[in-house]
C-alpha cells in the first residue's frame, strides 16, 4: 500500500512536470518544417576534417616517396661495391660486368647534383655508414684491377699443341705428324 502511495506521489510530480513541459514545447509544425528544410538542403560535398586528414596523408606519403627516391642511389652503390669485392678476386679484368665497372668508376663521374643532395640529406648518424661504403668501393676497385704476379708462368710456347686434338677420321700419315718422329731423329 505504501509503495502504491509513493508511486502515486511520484506520478503526481511527473504529471505536474509534464504539464509544464507541454506549455513550453515548440509547435509540431515549426519543428517539422525546419526538419523538412534541413533534409532538403544540399549536403556539403565533403567533410572538412576528412578532407584535412586525407590531405595530410597524401602529403606524408609524398614526402616518404621523395625521401625513398633520394635514398635509392646510395643503396645500389654500396651493394655493387660489395659485389665487385666478391667477384673481383675470381673474374679477370675483361669479364667485369657493367655494374662492377660502374662501381669502379671514379666518383667524379657520377651526377654531382644527386651527390650533393645526398650529402645534404645524410644526417650525422649515417655519416660512418657512408664512409664505410666509400672504403668498400675503393677496395673493390683495387681488387678488380689486381693481377697475379705468377700468371706468366702458366703460359708456354707449346700451348697450341695442348689445346688442339687429332681428328678421328685422319689417316695414319696425318696422325704420325702428331707423334714425335724418333726414328727419323735416330736416322738423322
Amino acid at each position: 500500500m505504501a509503495s502504491i502511495g509513493e508511486e502515486q506521489e511520484i506520478r503526481g510530480l511527473f504529471s505536474e512536470l509534464k504539464l509544464a513541459d507541454e506549455q513550453t514545447a515548440p509547435g509540431f509544425n515549426t519543428v517539422w518544417h525546419r526538419a523538412q528544410g534541413r533534409s532538403l538542403k544540399p549536403r556539403r560535398a565533403f567533410n572538412l576534417s576528412f578532407a584535412v586528414a586525407t590531405g595530410l596523408l597524401i602529403c606524408a606519403l609524398g614526402t616518404l616517396a621523395l625521401w625513398s627516391m633520394r635514398w635509392q642511389p646510395a643503396a645500389p652503390a654500396s651493394a655493387s661495391a660489395r659485389l665487385s669485392a666478391e667477384a673481383g678476386s675470381f673474374a679477370p679484368e675483361s669479364d667485369k660486368s657493367p655494374t662492377v665497372a660502374r662501381a669502379s668508376e671514379p666518383p667524379q663521374n657520377r651526377q654531382p647534383l644527386v651527390k650533393n643532395r645526398l650529402h645534404r640529406l645524410v644526417s650525422p648518424q649515417h655519416a660512418p655508414e657512408i664512409a664505410g661504403n666509400q672504403q668498400l668501393t675503393k677496395e673493390a676497385k683495387a681488387i678488380a684491377s689486381w693481377q697475379s704476379p705468377t700468371s706468366d708462368l702458366l703460359s708456354s710456347p707449346s700451348d697450341g699443341l695442348f689445346k688442339s686434338l687429332p681428328q678421328l677420321n685422319e689417316n695414319a700419315n696425318e696422325l704420325k705428324s702428331f707423334l714425335p718422329n724418333r726414328e727419323n731423329d735416330k736416322e738423322k
Binding site: 509513493e6 511520484i10 504529471s15 512536470l17 509544464a20 515548440p26 519543428v31 517539422w32
Partner: protein, 191 residues
Amino acid sequence: MKTDGMQIAELKAELERLHSASFGWALSCCRRDQTEAEEVLQTVYVKILEGKARFGGESSLKTWLFAVIRKTAATEYRRRLLRSFRLTGDPEEMVERFAISESQSAGFERSELQGHFLIAMKTLPRRQREALHLVFYEDLSLREAADVMGVSIGSARQHYERGKKRLRESLATMELGYGINWGRAGNPRAV
C-alpha cells in the same frame, strides 16, 4: 506502417499526436535542456524524412520513436561534448559549463517542490532516470520502457525499482514538505 514515401502523411499525423510526449522524452534525454531537446527532435524528424530511421513495425510507433530520440540525443550529446572539448581543451571547465547550462535551463518559474524534484531526478543515474520517466511521465509499461531503453525487462525493472528508491531518498534528504512524509509512509508511527 512503414516510413515509405506513400505513408509519410500518415506518419506525420502520428508524429504530431506524439509530439508533446516526444518533446518531454527528448527533454529528459537532454538533461532538461530545451534548446538541445528541440534540436534533437528536429534531427529525429530529419532522420525519418530522409529514411535513415525506418519504422519496421516490430514494436509500437511510440516505442520506436522514443528509441530513436534516445539514440539521437546520446549522439548529439557526445558530439557537443567533443566540440566543446575541442574549443576549451579543459575537461573540468567543460563539465562546469555544462552544469551551469543545465541549471539555467531548469526553468525559473517552477515551484520549489518541482525544483527539488528536478534536482533529485538529475542526481539519479541515467538508466534509472529513463526508467522512471518512461513509466511515470509517458505511461509506458515496463516492457515498453525496456524496449525503448534497449535493455531486458528484468534490467528495466531493476532500474525502475532502484530509481524509485533513490528518488525517495533524495527527496527525503531535501526534507520536502509536500504533505508527504517521504520514507515514512510505510511506518505511520514514525515521527
